[in-house]
């Protein structure tokens, strides 16, 4: 049996009321419900408040550089495609600094699950605009308000034919846990954008602001229809949909590599008995 105690990590250093606490709670519950033990998965995190996430858990952890979670996660997943690999990043980390990697991880359809703690602000550096900050929002660093347009990561991902695209809300733990489980069970690349209030620095997108707008996608919505997914992804303003927005079931990157079919790379013999013979054959090509 796996219980909450198995995941007891360090004491979080987040602000009281931070949306990260609920994300952590939802994630632990999702792991328990899926019977995933701490050693069976690896979290790759970046820099920002979200980057500290794996320290407040117990699991294999690579807390890397700002913006570079996805390449590290890709490397880990390719070395061990039996390992569940989850990348945890913030909006600045993943949509700003590491934007290029996001595009290409989606293209590869590598089996990495990306959870973005999207609080629409830079928290760790104390309140500058992020790529998802709303246009016109004032910060100490944006004296004329945010001049650039707001990035919609969900629309971007659907446009790139990302194989799993979802949005969650830190204020609805049960719903969030459900889509985390779906993302983990999806075999290809999954983007889960999690709306998360920053109680200290984002005075616009507060719990109340989100609560008045978010609604769960229900009823006859078909996430496998790309056009309706694209339309759904464009909803932002008075109403913000949460739930699974788009799914396609194209082949994953790992599935296309013939020698990863039977066993992960880490279980391949490093030096086989006839190693020297194989190398000699290569050398013979040069005569």
């Amino acid at each position: 049996m796996i219980s909450l105690a198995d995941y007891q990590g360090k004491m979080p250093a987040w602000c009281p009321g931070c949306g990260n606490y609920s994300i952590l709670r939802a994630f632990k519950e999702a792991l328990i419900e899926l019977y995933i033990a701490p050693h069976e998965f690896t979290i790759v995190s970046g820099i920002g408040q979200a980057g500290k996430f794996p320290h407040y858990l117990r699991c294999n952890t690579f807390n890397g550089l700002h913006g570079r979670t996805l390449p590290v996660a890709t490397g880990i997943r390719l070395a061990n495609n039996k390992m569940l690999v989850i990348a945890v990043a913030g909006d600045g980390d993943c949509y700003g600094e590491g934007g290029n990697h996001l595009i290409h991880a989606i293209r590869r359809n590598i089996g990495v699950k990306l959870f973005v703690h999207n609080n629409q602000i830079y928290g760790l550096t104390k309140g500058q605009a992020s790529p998802t900050s709303m246009e016109g929002m004032f910060t100490k660093n944006q004296p004329f308000g945010v001049l650039s347009g707001q990035l919609n990561p969900v629309t971007l991902a659907v446009a790139l034919d990302c194989s799993f695209v979802a949005r969650g809300f830190a204020g609805d733990i049960n719903h969030l846990k459900g889509i985390m489980k779906e993302a983990i069970n999806h075999k290809g690349f999954a983007l889960l954008d999690i709306l998360q209030p920053c109680v200290t620095f984002n005075k616009v997108n507060t719990y109340d602001w989100y609560r008045q707008r978010v609604y769960p996608i229900e009823g006859e919505y078909n996430p496998e229809d790309r056009l309706s997914a694209f339309k759904k992804s464009l909803e932002w303003g008075d109403r913000i949909p949460i739930g699974v927005i788009y799914i396609n079931r194209r082949q994953t990157f790992e599935e296309r590599i013939p020698f990863l079919k039977d066993r992960p790379l880490i279980d391949h013999e490093l030096f086989t008995d006839n190693w020297s013979e194989s190398i000699k054959k290569v050398l013979d090509e040069f005569f």
Binding site: K10, A37, P38, H39, E40, T42, V44, I47, K52, P54, H55, R58, C59, N60, T61, F62, N63, G64, L65, R68, L70, P71, V72, A73, T74, G75, I76, R77, L78, A79, N80, K82, M83, N100, H101, I103, H104, I257, P258, F259, L265, I266, H268, L270, F271, W275, S276, S278, I279, K280, V282, L283, F286, F287
Partner: protein, 570 residues
């Protein structure tokens, strides 16, 4: 016997095909061969050349004079006519060069016309040219014809026949018409391997158990990735063309963390992007091997030319203080051996290791009699499964006597592998504690460093053991310095000291004593500031008497280098 052939023309004319074929013919015949190339950063046009030196005794560099010049365009005549020896011969096709040359060393051969007549295609002009060169040398035809059969046999008899007819036509024409050709072909030895450094780094990586290579294409390092990609299926290696160099190094670090031996490769500009990742590898104590193929900078510089100007960059790259090792092979067999050593040391000490080459070396080919596979190391330092499970209270960054902590493979036991780019405690969790910080720096740097220094091999000494004059070089200048020592040692007490295990400098007084004892020490470097000389001065206080620099983007030639050395020593 020691001849040099140069083939010049525009990009896309098939210079490489002619050059590669001729070099293969000579190495297969058993001669020693050295080739090098110069090309421009374009796919069509411009002026490129391919130079082949072959001999019945070992050759390790190019000379500046040519015996046979193949001109596929007019520019080749203009650029290289002055390099032709008195007894040298040039061939050209007046249809390609658009003019006839009134010089009895120049032979007009209708390459295109013969290609169309005997090969039914203009493209066969390359095969006619190969025939012409071998005809001028009066070289046995069957060596080429056998290679032709091996390479094109699959494509069917007709393709082989058209090539053969074109070859023989060129051969017979040159043999008959080249009245002044008086080349002597001496008996040869056993067939030899003909290999470039990018390939031998690739073979070295495979031999060392490399299973993951991620890189972004960049001249002159791309050859390593291409070679590994060609062997990916056979040796089950993941070769991933990353979206940029930042991704390339981070992917390799990820794969290494997860348990695989990983490598990346690039040139200066790409490495500039990798620098933060280098620092990450150091902080998380994740082994990584980086092939850095230098080319002239700053910025895009001379993208297809050569320089040795990134040594100090490689030594100092990365924020913070951490250990690294830098190897700079001077030949393909050194590259094989040092790639293996780079993997071994990087795994053993959990640090980054560099293999530093440059365009000249990357685009050169050498003959090698054999590669001694008994010399390579394949110790598995990572722990997994039951062994990992048996370690109670496992900590990824445990403080130890030598600074090295067990590196488990995640997922193979219930032990958790935790690391952080932030300063971390023994377990791998983020910390700002000053005492832990100091202990961690000591672990990563001060404890490992003296052990790493002891792993470094001594410089290679060649020439008079009681030399008055010592010429010091590193990396790609190995062959050319060696060759110029051969020229100069006839009447001088001269020797070469060549460093291929560069940083940290080997932990020994012996080589410093040789330098101190010499009457004159001269550094030779393909850069503007004498970067290795600066390293020696910084680390030991010793200063060379003179430095010979070249930084026009071109390599040294042995006869010209010998002259420069002579000018200094008088």
């Amino acid at each position: 016997m020691d001849y040099t052939i140069k083939i010049g023309g525009e990009a896309g004319q098939g210079i490489q095909t002619i050059g590669d074929s001729l070099a293969k013919v000579f190495s297969r015949f058993g001669y020693y061969v050295f080739t090098h190339q110069e090309y421009e950063s374009r796919i069509r046009g411009g002026h490129n050349f391919y130079q082949i030196r072959f001999s019945d005794s070992p050759v390790t560099a190019s000379k500046s004079v040519i015996d046979i010049l193949v001109c596929l365009d007019n520019e080749s005549i203009k650029a290289h006519k002055k390099e032709l020896t008195l007894y040298g011969t040039a061939i050209y096709d007046s249809k390609l060069t658009k003019e006839s040359i009134d010089d009895n060393r120049f032979l007009n051969i209708p390459l295109l016309e013969m290609a169309e007549r005997f090969g039914k295609n203009k493209i066969m002009a390359n095969t006619v040219a190969i025939g012409a060169v071998l005809g001028m040398l009066d070289f046995p035809q069957e060596v080429f014809l056998n290679i032709l059969q091996e390479n094109l046999g699959k494509k069917g008899g007709e393709v082989v026949k058209l090539n053969k007819d074109s070859f023989v036509a060129g051969y017979e024409f040159a043999k008959k018409e080249c009245l002044q050709c008086a080349f002597t072909i001496t008996p040869s030895g056993k067939p030899k391997m003909l290999m470039g450094v990018n390939e031998s780094i690739g073979i070295g990586a495979i031999t060392s158990g490399c299973k993951f290579y991620s890189a972004y294409p960049m001249t002159p390092s791309t050859g390593i990735m291409l070679f590994l990609a060609s062997k990916a299926e056979e040796f089950e290696i993941i070769v991933e063309q990353a979206e940029d160099e930042i991704a390339a190094i981070n992917m390799a670090i990820g794969a290494s963390f997860a348990g695989m031996r990983s490598m990346t490769g690039t040139s200066g500009g790409g490495f500039a992007l990798m620098v933060e990742g280098l620092s990450l590898a150091a902080m998380t104590e994740t082994p990584i091997v980086i092939a850095l193929a230098q080319r002239p900078g700053p910025a895009t510089g001379l993208p297809t030319k050569t320089e040795q100007a990134d040594l100090l960059f490689a030594i100092h790259a990365g924020h913070g203080e951490f250990p690294r090792v830098i190897f700079a092979p001077g030949s393909p067999d050194q590259a094989f051996y040092l790639t293996n050593k780079a993997f071994d040391i990087s795994q053993k000490y959990q640090i980054p290791a560099f293999i530093l080459t440059d365009q000249y070396l990357s685009d050169s080919q050498w003959t090698i009699d054999e590669i001694d596979l008994t010399k390579y190391k394949h110790t598995q330092y990572r722990i997994r499964g039951e062994k990992l499970e048996s370690i109670k209270d496992y900590k990824r960054h445990l403080f130890t006597e030598n600074g090295i902590s067990f590196f488990g493979i995640p997922g193979t036991s219930t032990r958790l592998i935790i690391t952080d780019s932030d300063e971390h405690d023994e377990e791998g969790h983020i910390t700002e504690d000053p005492d832990i910080r100091v202990k961690m720096v000591n672990k990563r740097l001060h404890k490992k460093w003296p052990l790493i220094k002891r792993e470094m091999g001594l410089p290679y000494f060649y020439g008079d053991s009681d030399a008055d004059i010592v010429i010091v070089g590193w990396g790609s200048t190995y062959g050319v310095i060696k060759d110029s020592i051969d020229i100069l040692s006839r009447n001088k007490k001269i020797a070469m000291m060549h460093f291929s295990e560069l940083y940290p400098l080997p932990d020994s007084e012996d080589y410093m004593n040789i330098l101190k004892k010499a009457k004159k020490t001269i550094g030779v470097e393909n850069n503007a500031r004498g970067q290795f000389a600066r390293l020696i001065k910084t680390e030991t206080g010793f200063e060379f008497d003179s430095i010979i620099n070249r930084y026009d983007g071109r390599p040294f030639y042995s006869d010209l280098l010998a002259r420069s050395i002579n000018d200094i020593i008088g």
